[in-house]
């Protein structure tokens, strides 16, 4: 066990615990706040795995934007503030499918990598990642900008009733 392993085990425990609370808590707002903890722990895991830029993008986009949007949606749909018992349906099919998927993937990945040991690669700084993005992956990068524009226009059209009503008529 090296320092990186200990750090990863600790951050992974935090991420898994917070993730479990996201899907089991009876408070809608607290689920969003536990999601912040889980996403922050995953950003820490990225840092241990030397993915600097990805970690900061995770903090900016996920913790900064996505969670705020989710909390906005919680408020706008008038979710119950206190604890509510009707957030879940029957649990055993979900536990069966989720546990099966998780256990199957664990077996698959551990079988592929065993307890092998690799040296950490050179850190993914903004300079190196930018070079990879704009040399090798420039076409998907540009396609993503078109996709973001389409998602923006789609979100506006869906959420404005005066535009949406015409299409339905």
């Amino acid at each position: 066990m090296t320092t990186a392993d200990v750090l990863m085990a600790a951050l992974g425990a935090v991420a898994l615990g917070a993730g479990l609370l996201v899907v089991t808590t009876r408070h809608v707002v607290r689920a969003g706040l536990w999601l912040v903890v889980a996403l922050g722990a995953i950003a820490g895991l990225y840092l241990v795995l030397t993915a600097e830029l990805v970690a900061w993008v995770q903090v900016l986009v996920y913790v900064g934007a996505v969670v705020v949007l989710l909390l906005f949606a919680v408020m706008l749909t008038r979710a119950p503030i206190g604890a509510s018992d009707d957030l879940d349906r029957v649990r055993w099919p979900g536990a069966l499918i989720g546990g099966g998927a998780g256990a199957g993937l664990v077996v698959l990945l551990i079988d592929a990598f065993r307890w092998s040991r690799v040296a950490l690669p050179e850190p993914g700084t903004a300079e190196r990642l930018g070079a990879a993005l704009f040399r090798t992956w420039v076409l998907p990068f540009e396609l993503l900008s078109v996709l973001l524009l389409a998602a923006l226009v789609g979100a506006i059209v869906v959420s404005r009733p005066d535009i949406g009503a015409r299409g339905r008529g």
Binding site: A4, D5, A9, G12, A15, L16, L20, V22, V23, V28, A31, L35, I42, L45, Y46, T50, L53, V54, V57, V61, Y62, V66, L69, L70, F72, A73, V74, L76, T77, R78, A79, L87, D88, R89, G94, I97, G98, G99, G100, A101, G102, A103, L105, V106, L109, I110, S116, R117, V118, P121, G124, R128, L129, A132, P140, L144, L148, A155, V158, P161
Partner: protein
């Protein structure tokens, strides 16, 4: 660094996300579980980038950035749909949705 450790974390996180998607009845909570699944996939990408010496350096981390952008687009459109649903039905409980035209229109 043992790659089995983060791979195990990612697989378990994906299982938790699947459980949330199947069990949760509130549409916003279901989207949160989808975010957990997407993060598990991102963790697999970053770990594979560190564990496997690929011909193109840092391709796993580049794909993680792409998935983060896709998740942002997905959450924008998804929340717009949920808000519109709430405006029409006054409820975001996904297993009580009557199909067809709403009555008040």
């Amino acid at each position: 660094m043992h790659p089995a450790l983060p791979f195990t974390i990612a697989a378990l996180l994906f299982g938790i996300g699947v459980y949330g998607v199947v069990v949760r009845r509130n549409a916003v909570l279901m989207l949160m579980a989808v975010e957990l699944m997407l993060n598990a996939v991102n963790l697999v990408f970053v770990t594979a980038d560190a564990a496997i010496r690929a011909a193109v350096p840092h391709s796993g981390q580049s794909f993680t950035l792409f998935v983060i952008v896709l998740a942002a687009a997905e959450i924008g459109v998804g929340l717009a749909l949920i808000l519109q649903l709430y405006r029409l039905r006054r409820s975001v409980v996904i297993d009580e949705l009557p199909l067809g035209e709403p009555d008040d229109r």
